[in-house]
């Protein structure tokens, strides 16, 4: 999963227009498939029905009002946001440092270490959640901010590390050397030359980390409890008992928030270039 070039590919003989049209139609179909379950939720948020049925009947904003009537959603949102910010910040520090170590130093076992750092991406989340719960239970940290924060940091770390390594590898070492030669010490060089150059990559990595943590369900499931709920779990619990459009309303709000976030990041750094 390394970089995908968005630049025009090198010129080659044009395929028959018919097959190209077929491919384009196919891509549109897949995009519709990907978008359908997401956008089908939005009209239901404004429905007057008491159940999530399609097509929606009437128009009402009462499901949005219902979100406010239930303070547990607001507190779950706050907890999820706090955990996501904490995990992202910690991942940024550990990931940036590790990226410098991995890119700027050669040492035996480097490739194994990279593989090790990436394991949270493919490690079964359910096993991680259960294992962390098992470890924290005797310490009395099972239903605590810190338990959730630790598990989420483990999950978000690879996303930050991957973009940090990719960005740092592209930075010309000569720039740092120049600063060093001109009398800046290692820290000053890092602080004033390398770090600013890494900023777009770190920003993209942080965005993914925030989203991954905010949306995390399976691991958190083992670590939450009454009064300690993250938003996905609170939504799931609500949907278990009442499948009314309140969930569609929350989903719509979340969709707006993520869309804005994606657009801002896209404008700032270009997600296409950063996602690798």
């Amino acid at each position: 999963m390394s970089d995908i070039s968005l630049d025009p590919p090198p010129p080659h003989a044009a395929r028959a227009p018919a097959s190209e049209r077929l491919l384009n139609a196919y891509v549109v179909a897949v995009l519709l498939f990907l978008a359908l379950p997401i956008f089908i939720v939005v009209p239901l948020a404004f429905s007057d029905d008491v159940s999530l049925s399609f097509p929606p009947h009437g128009f009402s904003l009462r499901w949005f009002a219902n979100i406010w009537a239930r303070p547990e959603f607001a507190s779950a949102f706050a907890l999820s946001a706090a955990i996501a910010v904490f995990a992202t910040a910690l991942s940024l520090v550990a990931g940036t440092l590790a990226a410098v170590g991995l890119v700027r130093h050669q040492f035996p076992g480097r490739d194994s270490l990279v593989t090790f750092f990436m394991t949270p991406l493919i490690f079964p989340a359910i096993v991680l959640g259960a294992a962390v719960a098992l470890m924290l239970a005797p310490m009395g940290l099972l239903r605590s901010f810190w338990g959730l924060a630790l598990a989420h940091t483990v999950l978000t770390f690879p996303y930050v590390l991957r973009t940090a390594v990719a960005t740092l590898s592209e930075i010309d070492r000569a720039l740092g050397e120049a600063a060093y030669t001109l009398g800046a010490n290692r820290w000053k060089t890092f602080r004033h030359v390398t770090l600013p150059l890494m900023r777009p990559g770190l920003l993209a990595g942080a965005t993914f980390a925030l989203i991954v943590s905010f949306d995390e369900f399976t691991v958190s499931m083992f670590l939450v409890g009454p009064g300690m709920m993250t938003l996905p779990l609170e939504m799931y619990n609500y949907a278990e008992f009442s499948l009314d459009p309140t969930i569609a309303a929350i989903s719509t709000i979340l969709l707006i928030i993520t869309s804005v976030a994606i657009l801002v990041i896209e404008k700032l750094v270009g997600l296409g270039k950063q996602f690798s």
Binding site: P10, Y26, P37, A98, P124, L128, L161, A174, G183, I262
Partner: protein, 304 residues
């Protein structure tokens, strides 16, 4: 301090960018490496390795919470009881089916991203990755609305006069497949596209010049060259499917039990931690076997 000596050293380093200066045990370098990599190693050590080892230990201890010795009793139960075997079989076949479908559906999209000169390419790319940013709960609820008895498909078919009574589309293996494929397609597309993007189109051109038709060119040249992308995409999709919880729960509605649900049930609902730990170990080792096979496969197909 930064006289000619430092300049010369820097110049020498610039020439050989990957080699640190002199070859002797450099304690300063070891300390700085430890400081750079330490936090990450500590994080994964405390947050992943240590808890996993504790769980591995629990799965072979004979009693919980006060063990008196070692036993393989829990593994034996999990690996012989038809109840668990059916769940293990279902979980891994779900993963195989989902991986195969995402590869088939995703490959042409990856092709488009890697090869098309369309000006919509950037938008298609955003369209492919944006589902990754939407809450998994939202997406699962979306599928509930599409497949439900009062859902989109049934409403559509009824309105068209094709059916009278709603079809039961939920609570089935295939509804879970649909949800999982939807969630995991972006991973497959990105893996394949990154490999396809690196293949020089000249290879395909050469085959064409030599007289191969487009189908033959694809099967004999492009597809084998992109196998690495399919393989790495498959690993991600496979691993994420065997460990999935939310989608099977929300779309299977109690009818499609997978290992993740069993682990949660054993540990949280039945408070039978050792059996849960044994199921978790079987899941992890099953995944590990797949990863090893993938490593062997890649070595055989290594291009260098």
């Amino acid at each position: 301090m930064s006289g000619t000596g430092a300049l010369a050293a820097n110049a020498a380093r610039a020439e050989r960018p990957d080699e640190a200066p002199p070859r002797r045990v450099d304690f300063g370098r070891i300390v700085s490496l430890a400081a750079l990599l330490g936090p990450a190693v500590l994080l994964l050590g405390v947050g992943l390795v240590w808890p996993f080892l504790m769980m591995a230990r629990m799965s072979v201890l004979d009693r919980f919470p006060d063990p008196t010795g070692l036993t393989l009793e829990f593994f034996q139960t999990v690996l012989t009881d038809p109840y668990f075997l059916r769940i293990i079989g279902r979980t891994f076949s779900l993963a195989v089916v989902v991986t195969a479908i995402t590869a088939v559906i995703g490959y042409p999209v990856a092709w488009f991203l890697a090869r098309s000169r369309s000006r919509w390419k950037h938008l298609v790319f955003l369209g492919v990755i944006s589902p990754l940013m939407v809450s998994i709960i939202v997406r699962s609820i979306g599928w509930t609305i599409i497949l439900g008895n009062e859902g989109f498909i049934n409403a559509l078919l009824t309105a068209l006069g094709i059916i009278d009574t709603p079809l039961r589309l939920m609570q089935s293996f295939w509804s879970v497949v649909a949800g999982m494929v939807h969630i995991l397609i972006p991973f497959m597309v990105l893996s394949v596209a990154s490999v396809l993007g690196k293949i020089d189109p000249a290879y395909a051109e050469a085959a064409k010049v030599m007289g191969a038709n487009p189908v033959r060119t694809f099967l004999k040249v492009t597809l084998p060259l992109s196998v690495q992308g399919i393989a790495s995409g498959s690993v991600i999709v496979f691993c994420l499917t065997v460990g999935a919880y939310v989608t099977p729960v929300m779309l299977g509605r109690g009818k499609v039990t997978v290992m993740a649900m069993t682990i949660h049930e054993q540990m949280v609902v039945l408070v039978d931690w050792p059996t849960g730990a044994a199921v978790a170990m079987v899941l992890t080792f099953g995944t590990l076997v797949v990863l090893t096979l993938y490593g062997l496969f890649l070595r055989r197909h290594a291009r260098r």
